[in-house]
């Protein structure tokens, strides 16, 4: 039996398609040439999170790290796991521009730089190869991620871009090495000049452009990556939203991109940056504690009329979300993207 699925985006666009009762909503959308942000397609990454407003459905198995029992009870769904039992109306927490209507082929790119910028953290720069149709252009929204594929190793990992869309084919990433991680091993062994494949950008973790609220960015480690992209865009476009970045690291050796952040502050006079070190050495003069602690103090002082963006480990996202809700931040103004183990 076929059910009508209506998905509504943050900017009030609606898309309709049909889904049978043996299909998940993500697959049905793609069959209708609609590609809402997705990642693993197996209920693990949370990239396809939405909220079902009306209708009945079953959820295939998924990780409760990305969809808690409470959230599921309140109607949150992963499109890749949702099997409809009736017509469904689902809202998505991002704008229509994040839903692609064609999925462009992977692009060939050359690794042109791998630079250690902090403990276990590298900045990786790729140069796209000229494409006969679009040249060097690579269109994405700041905050989105791409999957990088190493064909020979049958290896694919998703990383947020840390620079802004450009016409020169330059893509930048912040990558934290994982012990015995396959991609980490690849990075440590590879040489400049190696070619990899870059899949089409995806993800709904993008700025709500129609909100004039101040913005709070809470990043854990390389969760800074999408925020660097967003802040760079804000600087390029001279956006004047008051913005507060809380960057959390375990120790001083893990602090990353301080110089870039200082430069961004010069371009964005309404940007404040709080680097939060959890377990510092004795001579650390900055904030001691987690970014959630700093964020809570900020909310207490400045009130809850703010948009909150969270990127980092699941625990950071969960605790920060809870803190924001308790302070009175509107749930619809909390946006998050979490690291998932692969």
């Amino acid at each position: 039996m076929s059910h009508k699925i209506t998905i509504s985006t943050r900017d009030n666009h609606q898309f309709e398609f049909y889904c049978n009762d043996k299909q998940n909503v993500q697959d049905a959308a793609e069959a209708a040439n609609l590609y809402p942000p997705f990642g693993c397609k197996s209920g693990v990454c949370g990239a396809c999170l939405g909220t079902c407003k009306t209708g009945n459905y079953q959820l295939d198995s998924y990780s409760d790290e990305v969809l808690s029992a409470d959230a599921a009870k309140n109607g949150d769904v992963l499109l890749c796991c949702a099997i409809p039992e009736s017509d469904l109306q689902i809202t998505l927490p991002y704008d229509a521009e994040c839903i692609q209507q064609t999925l462009s082929a992977p692009r060939d790119a050359e690794i042109i730089s791998i630079e250690k910028i902090a403990e276990r953290t590298f900045k990786v720069v790729l140069q796209l190869q000229d494409d006969p149709e679009v040249g060097l252009a690579f269109d994405f929204e700041p905050g989105q991620f791409v999957e990088l594929e190493i064909p020979n190793l049958d290896l694919m990992r998703a990383y947020s871009l840390s620079n802004t869309p450009n016409w020169e084919g330059r893509l930048e990433f912040l990558i934290r090495l994982q012990p015995n991680g396959k991609f980490s091993n690849f990075l440590q062994q590879t040489a400049i000049g190696q070619h990899i494949l870059v899949h089409a950008p995806s993800g709904g973790f993008v700025i709500n452009k129609q909100s004039a609220n101040p913005r709070c960015f809470i990043a854990g480690g390389t969760g800074l990556s999408p925020f660097l992209s967003i802040l760079s865009r804000m600087a390029e476009w001279a956006e004047n939203h008051p913005t507060h970045l809380f960057l959390g690291v375990n120790n001083e050796a893990e602090i990353l991109c301080q110089q870039e952040l200082t430069m961004l502050q010069q371009s964005l006079p309404h940007l404040t940056v709080e680097i939060c070190v959890w377990k510092p050495e004795d001579n650390w003069k900055g904030f001691i504690g987690t970014p959630v602690d700093a964020f809570k103090a900020h909310l207490e002082k400045n009130g809850s009329a703010t948009d909150v963006y969270l990127c980092g480990p699941s625990i950071l996202v969960e605790v920060s979300t809870q803190a924001a809700l308790e302070a009175g931040v509107n749930k619809e103004h909390i946006y998050s993207e979490r690291f998932v183990s692969s």
């Binding site: 900017d11 009030n12 704008d95 521009e97 692609q100 209507q101 040249g135 060097l136 252009a137 269109d139 929204e141 869309p165 016409w167 020169e168 452009k209 129609q210 909100s211 004039a212 609220n213 390029e236 476009w237 001279a238 956006e239 004047n240 939203h241 009329a305």
Partner: protein, 555 residues
């Protein structure tokens, strides 16, 4: 949200106007619409004090120009960015408070008791977006519909929309250095009048005509600013087929932005194309002098989705009409001046380097297309330059009638009326045209009458001033009133600039204007009756019938 300011507004048996769907036909969402209303309200507050300060000999140029810019952002298809309106509302309150101090200090210095003003003059903007949205509910145009009735709301709306159009034209002049205190005084006086929420229909009608008079002055100043900056329009060929090379497309109305881009791209090997209402650029000698002002591309605004997607370079949108960019070109369209769309890069500084970078990165046109051109540039200087010939042709019976077929274009099916009208105009009649409505027929060959082209493109919509000058000169030559000339005006409207032009024509006492493709939703049956009685305004019928009736009446 409630909005019925443009021609494409929702029409239904339950009442006209966009709102119930949470988004306008134009793509404006409810929040943006509400905040635009609140900005207009805030601007009325500036005007309340600016008018009184002016009466005491004090002016504030920053506030005057902010009023123009602020109102311009609220026109149809101009700015859709909620954060922009939150900023503008706060700025409006700052301007108002400054002008309030100016007024109160002037009053004190002159020993006068300052008026204690209410409404927009004393309103305080909320600190957050959500609180502003609540405040906006009391600023919507039809807020007191139940108490004052739809006629009063409609008359207020027409006056406000006319003022928006006036402000937009005045802003185009302002960026070229064209200003006149009489204009600021007129705008502020009438905004102050609206701030008092008038309920007298006669006073509102008079106010509407006064807005029309102000627009005559504005169009004169804009004409002077354009000709002063770029020379008087001259008949010229505008290429309408592309040539090989990198390319940038400029749309909107702003000649200053085009000029700056031409200057910044000089000797770069990038070709600049005009689009929509930028077409008349090819008639200005100082713009045409740039050899890389290559040609005109595409047609009127409503076709931009397909045309912009197909253009092989970046697009610069300098004013209305912008519609939601599609993914096909969203990353290569830029806005300037009052225009904006969330997620589209805005250039405030006139430094178009980002646009140029995209042009260099994109392929541009890979080959020349077959050369094809049209003739533009029949502004008042060109037409009046051959006035003797025209008068002789009329007196000799070679020219039987003039039809002014112009105004806005749009997507409504009824706009084919104007194509049919132009095509069916007899061979002994001249068609004067202006605005983007011309794209419906301007590439057709209408021939000439004794060397005078039968189709004369006067220019942009604001070049209605040129049309009025031409009509006035002909009336002088024939020693008659404009209404007695063998001239019919078939005006197509879409947005608030057209409302301003219509009011300007009415303020001159011009009668018998055909207005279409549909009458504005804010004109109630009662108001239409008044306009028909006073000005013989005619809604569109069948093109052939309207044409025949116009010729019969003139015979």
């Amino acid at each position: 949200m409630f909005c019925y300011q443009c021609e494409q507004t929702t029409r239904s048996e339950n009442g006209d106007g966009c709102g119930s769907e949470g988004v306008g036909i134009c793509g404006k969402d409810a929040t943006t619409s509400d905040l635009q209303d609140l900005l207009v309200y805030a601007i009325k507050g500036i005007a309340q004090y600016a008018k009184r300060a002016r009466e005491l000999g004090k002016t504030d140029n920053q506030a005057d120009s902010f009023i123009l810019y602020g109102l311009f952002t609220t026109l149809t298809n101009v700015n859709f960015s909620t954060p922009k309106f939150v900023t503008l509302i706060q700025q409006a309150a700052e301007h108002r408070d400054r002008v309030k101090s100016l007024y109160e200090e002037a009053a004190k210095a002159q020993g006068i008791t300052a008026d204690s003003l209410q409404g927009p003059a004393s309103w305080k903007p909320a600190a957050t977006q959500s609180a502003l949205e609540i405040q906006a509910q009391s600023a919507v145009i039809n807020k007191d519909l139940e108490t004052v009735g739809e006629d009063i709301v409609g008359l207020r709306a027409m006056m406000l929309y006319g003022l928006k159009g006036v402000a937009a034209y005045a802003y185009h002049a302002y960026v070229l250095g064209g200003e006149d205190q009489e204009i600021y005084a007129g705008i502020e006086k009438n905004l102050d009048f609206l701030a008092d929420e008038p309920t007298d229909a006669s006073a509102l009608l008079a106010g509407n005509l006064e807005v029309g008079s102000i627009n005559l002055k504005v169009m004169e100043v804009l004409d002077g600013a354009n000709t002063g900056s770029f020379g008087a329009q001259e008949p010229a060929q505008a290429r309408v087929s592309p040539i090989k090379g990198k390319a940038i497309l400029v749309s909107g109305h702003d000649m200053k932005d085009l000029h700056d881009l031409l200057e910044q791209t000089k000797d770069m090997g990038i070709n600049i194309y005009t689009h929509g209402e930028m077409l008349p650029a090819h008639a200005y000698p100082k713009l045409r002098a740039y050899s890389h002002l290559t040609g005109n591309y595409g047609s009127a605004w409503q076709n931009q989705h397909a045309e912009f997607a197909a253009f092989p370079g970046p697009i610069l949108m300098t004013s209305n009409c912008l519609i939601e960019p599609t993914p096909a070109y969203r990353n290569r369209i830029f806005t300037a001046g009052p225009v904006g769309w969330p997620g589209v890069r805005h250039i405030e500084s006139h430094d178009f380097t980002p646009v140029i970078q995209v042009a260099k990165a994109m392929p541009g046109y890979e080959e020349d297309a077959e050369e094809k051109s049209i003739t533009v540039g029949f502004g008042r200087h060109a037409v009046l330059g051959v006035a003797d010939k025209v008068i002789e042709a009329v007196k000799g019976g070679d020219i039987r009638h003039f039809f002014l077929v112009g105004g806005c274009d749009g997507a409504a099916p009824g706009r084919n009326y104007y194509t049919e009208l132009a095509e069916q105009t007899p061979d002994d009649c001249v068609i004067l045209t202006l605005g983007c409505g011309k794209y419906r027929f301007h590439e057709q060959d209408f021939g000439d009458i004794g060397g005078i082209p039968r189709l004369l493109d006067i220019g942009q919509c604001n070049d209605a001033y040129s049309a009025i000058q031409i009509a006035s000169a002909l009336a002088d030559a024939f020693d008659c009133e404009v209404n007695e000339l063998p001239l019919s005006m078939m005006i197509s409207w879409f947005e608030q600039k057209a409302v301003a032009v219509l009011l300007a024509l009415l303020s001159l006492g011009i009668k018998g204007i055909h207005l279409g493709p549909t009458l504005p939703a804010f004109l109630t049956p009662t108001v239409i009756d008044i306009l028909v009685k006073e000005f013989d305004i005619k809604p569109n019928g069948i093109a052939a019938d309207d044409l025949a009736a116009a010729l019969k009446k003139a015979a």
